[in-house]
Symmetry: C2
Subunit: 239 residues, 2 copies
DNA sequence: GTCTATATCATGATAGAC
DNA sequence: GTCTATCATGATATAGAC
């Protein structure tokens, strides 16, 4: 019956998402998924056609919600400030805060998705990345235009590059926060639970804003505050 | 004979690295590697014990060279400025420029390694990440201390977080430069070859320095320039 | 729609001759 | 050190009864 259909479908989706987040999608077998979901092995082929169809469905479900959220925030900003250029900080928050808040969400599945997303973006040969950037194309276009208007002095090239850098910083803020702690012998091993979404978000936002509004690199010439030591960077081989 | 041994070993290492960069290490079979290297299938087990031993060897080879390079640059900086605190821009360049320059290197294998490195860091269940952060531990410690001395007004927590953010920005600067171009309908599809290492490095350095020296988020209170709209961020579900 | 059973294939690892 | 041949395993996908 129909209610059974969507129930089974969503059960598979949930189980797959959780396993993908821990193991990655190609280290996760359909047998693991169907066992965790307590459904039959063949049901995934029935509902999603193939394993690839399943992982695509996993991403689309969360990604659509995430990007809808971002667009809603941006629409609200643009409605409130009629015609006026938005503040860069508000644009950044509309884009990045849904991601960070999802990543710190109490729901374990929801929280696990964000690192999974970041990881899957860096799979070059994957069909997934194509699906992800396709799902993002409208959002990127909207936010790029908003940033352009809010920073009229910064050339478009630079905006796009810096937007790209900000994506990377946010990615590491989320998925790698715990990873490098041991490597850098983190001075405060006792992490407070309260050091969660809001604090991380503020740390990140300060950094992103600082980078976004940094003085432009005077292309060609060497910037005053950013001097490259020629002897250090030109000689690639070491003594 | 001995010359044959190291020759075979390095041939395998090169072929594996190249394939890993394109496909990822766990989408690459030993049969692919040995075919590309024109060696026997069993030779990888003979020389590296197992497939895992091979991938670990692939990473160690390049990583050691990269980190030696970084440490040499830092040593040179500290020798030149005796006792004095280093400029943050110089510390950042000593750490990040070897990575970026490798990523833009003319050698295809060398260039391909950096995205591979970034991707493998985001595999949570992997034994590789442990090896990578182990290989980085001395470098991180040295550069963390250098940054601390060069920015005495910034608390240690913030330094470490921002260092982490910078790693992310650099990662995306390198591995994803081409990835999101289509998604954001990049305005200049014709990419000049000259837009390579130096220009990218300057763009990145401006951003990193801006973020590193950004005003601190006044922890607890809400910063003036960074206001979160409560109605927009608390209501997670959309109409 | 769900289940069992199976087909088909690719992988990592090893045994043993040379 | 290198090779051939093979094993054992686990993967996706499908056929066909219910």
């Amino acid at each position: 019956m129909s209610s059974q259909r969507t129930s089974t479908r969503n059960t598979i989706l949930d189980a797959a998402e959780q396993l993908f987040a821990v193991q990655g999608h190609d280290n996760t077998s359909m047998r693991q998924i169907t066992s965790a979901a307590s459904v039959n092995l063949s049901s995934v082929n029935y509902h999603f056609g193939s394993k690839d169809g399943l992982v695509q469905a996993v991403f689309q479900r969360r990604l659509r919600a995430l990007n809808d959220e971002r667009l809603a925030l941006l629409n609200e900003l643009e409605n409130n400030a009629k015609g006026e250029a938005l503040k860069p900080s508000h644009v950044l928050e509309a884009f990045f805060s849904p991601l960070v808040l999802h990543a710190c969400s109490p729901g374990p599945d929801e929280r696990a998705f964000v690192p999974l997303l970041e990881r899957s973006m860096s799979d070059p040969g994957g069909f997934i990345r194509a699906a992800i950037i396709d799902e993002h194309s409208e959002v990127f276009s909207r936010f790029r235009q908003a940033l352009l208007k809010s920073l009229p002095d910064v050339p478009e090239d630079e905006i796009i590059w810096r937007f790209h850098f900000m994506l990377g910083a946010t990615s590491y803020a989320i998925s790698g926060a715990e990873a490098l702690r041991s490597a850098m012998d983190w001075p405060h091993p006792q992490q407070k639970e309260a050091e969660s979404a809001q604090v991380l978000l503020q740390r990140l936002m300060s950094f992103l804003l600082g980078g976004l509004r940094a003085p432009l690199p005077n292309s060609g010439a060497v910037p005053a505050c950013n001097n490259i030591n020629p002897t250090a960077t030109n000689g690639r081989s070491l003594p």
